[in-house]
Each structure stands twice: as structure tokens, then as C-alpha cells.
């Protein structure tokens, strides 16, 4: 009986925790620190230990404790330090090229490769290829015989 009550209580606590987590998704401090920079050190915030980094970490921790989402925390950091505080470029404006250029370059290379292969295969199959050589011409054969006659093989 007591065991059943304990199991019920545990299930109730777990359900409550899950419900509260779903209602207010919180930013993760460690996750944010791995996605933003320490502007003074030029490294990820999670790796930085400078006085500026400590202040920045405290700022992030405070916003996380206030229940801000990851996007809100990042926006606040950008407002303080500018776009350079983000470790990954934004997906808009000129920064979008960081994502688009590799994709476009890959697509162009793939298309060029496909064209090249198709052309190569067409050339290899040979409907427009000339007939295979059927031995030397009479003049070549005559000259060959003359050359061979000069050598006693």
C-alpha cells in the first residue's frame, strides 16, 4: 500500500515537472555559452575566463534565471555587444552568404560534374566515333615491309 502511494507520488511529481517544463521552456546556460563569443577574448564564451567574460556569463545567467528564452538572451547580447557576439552568423543579410555560398558552390559543382560525366559517356559509347582502325594503309604496309626487310630478324 505504502509502495503504491510512493509510486503515485513520484509519478505526480514527474508529471508536474514535465508540465512546467513544457509551459516555460528555459534557455540552457551551457548551451548559450557554447553559441556566443567573448568579444574581448575572441573565443567561445564557454572557454573564456577573462574579467569581461565573467561579467558576460553573469549577464547570461541572470537572464536565464529570469526565464528568458535562448533567442531573447542572444538578442540581449547582440544589443550589448553587436552581432559579433554570435558564434554562428545570422541567417539574414550578408551573413546569409555564409550558408548560401557553400550550398550554391556545391550545386554548381554537382551540375558541372553531371554534365562532364554525361559527355564523357556519350563520347565513350561512340555513335559519332569513327570506325576502329582496321590495320595499316597499303602505303604504310609497304613501307613497313621495306623497313623490316632491312633488318634480319
Amino acid at each position: 500500500m505504502r509502495a503504491a502511494a510512493a509510486i503515485l507520488a513520484a509519478l505526480a511529481i514527474a508529471a508536474l515537472a514535465a508540465a512546467s517544463a513544457a509551459a516555460a521552456p528555459r534557455a540552457s546556460l551551457t548551451e548559450i555559452e557554447s553559441e556566443v563569443m567573448c568579444p574581448v577574448c575572441g573565443t567561445l564564451l564557454e572557454l573564456a575566463e577573462s574579467p569581461q567574460a565573467k561579467r558576460e556569463k553573469a549577464f547570461v545567467a541572470r537572464l536565464v534565471a529570469e526565464g528568458k528564452t535562448k533567442a531573447q538572451v542572444k538578442d540581449a547580447l547582440v544589443a550589448e555587444y553587436g552581432d559579433a557576439v554570435l558564434a554562428l552568423p545570422k541567417g539574414s543579410g550578408f551573413d546569409l552568404s555564409a550558408y548560401l555560398v557553400p550550398v550554391i558552390a556545391f550545386a554548381i559543382a554537382a551540375v558541372a560534374l553531371a554534365f562532364g560525366v554525361a559527355r564523357w559517356r556519350r563520347a565513350g559509347r561512340g555513335p559519332d566515333r569513327g570506325p576502329p582502325p582496321s590495320g595499316p594503309s597499303p602505303e604504310d604496309a609497304e613501307r613497313l615491309d621495306a623497313d623490316l626487310a632491312r633488318y634480319d630478324l
Binding site: 574581448v40 574579467p51 569581461q52 561579467r55 550589448e80 555587444y81 559579433a84 555560398v101 558552390a105 554548381i108
Partner: protein, 166 residues
């Protein structure tokens, strides 16, 4: 071909935007517009053209800046006016921390905010604090990479100024 051109263009842009910068003695100091640390609106070194300006790059997390700030405030109190001002630039700092610093040290000279460090980059600073004495024509006359001392202000900066508070 287009992709190659795009990649080369990006590389050139990256190199150009990360190129060396900075200001040397005798050169015209950068005068980009920056938001004011306290209150609203923007300010710029250009607003003080015609005056001597000691541009002081600082941050609230910088320990030497804490020792330097009271000296600068005393110097401002003595020489600040129509002919001279200290101009603080809070660089790569949280604005709330910067404002708390100004209140704590009771700084009365104007303060600009350089959150992303762009102005510091234009001046070619290597850290904080750094100080640039700019003459009324906007040219850098003195440059101190590190905190200024009371002796430096008295012996190097003060003799260049008109002298009396106007």
C-alpha cells in the same frame, strides 16, 4: 566560375574588413557617432571640434580603469570647460555595468558607448584603458596605451592646454 568568383570576393571582403586600422600621432582621430552611455541620442568626437579632448577608452571590468577614473575626474574638474574635456568611451562592456561604474566614481565628463568595440578598433586600441589627447583640429597629439597617471596628466597633458578653466 561564378562560384569561384563569389568565394574570391568573400575572401577579399573579409581581408579588407579585417585589415589593419588605428591612428598614429599627428593623424586625424576617427570621429564615428556612438550612442551616449547615459541618456539618449548619439555623440561623437566631432562634437568637440575646437576643444582639446582626452579620449579615454575604458570598461567597468578593467581594474586599471578603476584606478584611473578618479584621476581623470579630478583633471576634468580642474581643466574641463570650453577649451578641454575628457571624453569617456565605454568599450566592449555591458551598458548597465558601465553606468554603474560612472555613478560609483561620480564621473561628470561625457561618456559614449562602444559596445561592439568598433570605435576602439578604429583607434587601434589593444586593450583598456587607452588614452588619446586630440587637439582642437582633431589630430592626435598624445597617445597612452595603458592608464594615465597623475604625473602624466600634470607634466604632459596640462602644459598643452590653455590652462585656466574657461
Amino acid at each position: 566560375m561564378l562560384a569561384v568568383l563569389a568565394v574570391v570576393g568573400l575572401l577579399v571582403y573579409g581581408l579588407a574588413s579585417k585589415g589593419s586600422s588605428g591612428v598614429a600621432l599627428g593623424e586625424v582621430a576617427p570621429a564615428s557617432s556612438l550612442p551616449r552611455l547615459e541618456g539618449s541620442g548619439d555623440g561623437s568626437l566631432a562634437d568637440y571640434r575646437g576643444r582639446w579632448v582626452l579620449v579615454n577608452f575604458w570598461a567597468s571590468w578593467c581594474i586599471p580603469c578603476k584606478q584611473e577614473a578618479p584621476l581623470l575626474e579630478r583633471f576634468q574638474h580642474r581643466y574641463g570647460g570650453r577649451a578641454f574635456t575628457v571624453l569617456g568611451v565605454d568599450s566592449r562592456d555591458l551598458s548597465g555595468d558601465g553606468r554603474a561604474f560612472v555613478r560609483r566614481y561620480r564621473l561628470t565628463y561625457p561618456q559614449l558607448r562602444d559596445g561592439d568595440g568598433a570605435a576602439a578598433h578604429e583607434f587601434g586600441t589593444t586593450g583598456v584603458p587607452e588614452n588619446f589627447l586630440v587637439d582642437p583640429a582633431g589630430r592626435v597629439r598624445l597617445l597612452v596605451r595603458g592608464p594615465v597617471t597623475g604625473e602624466y596628466l600634470r607634466d604632459q597633458v596640462a602644459p598643452l592646454l590653455p590652462g585656466e578653466r574657461s
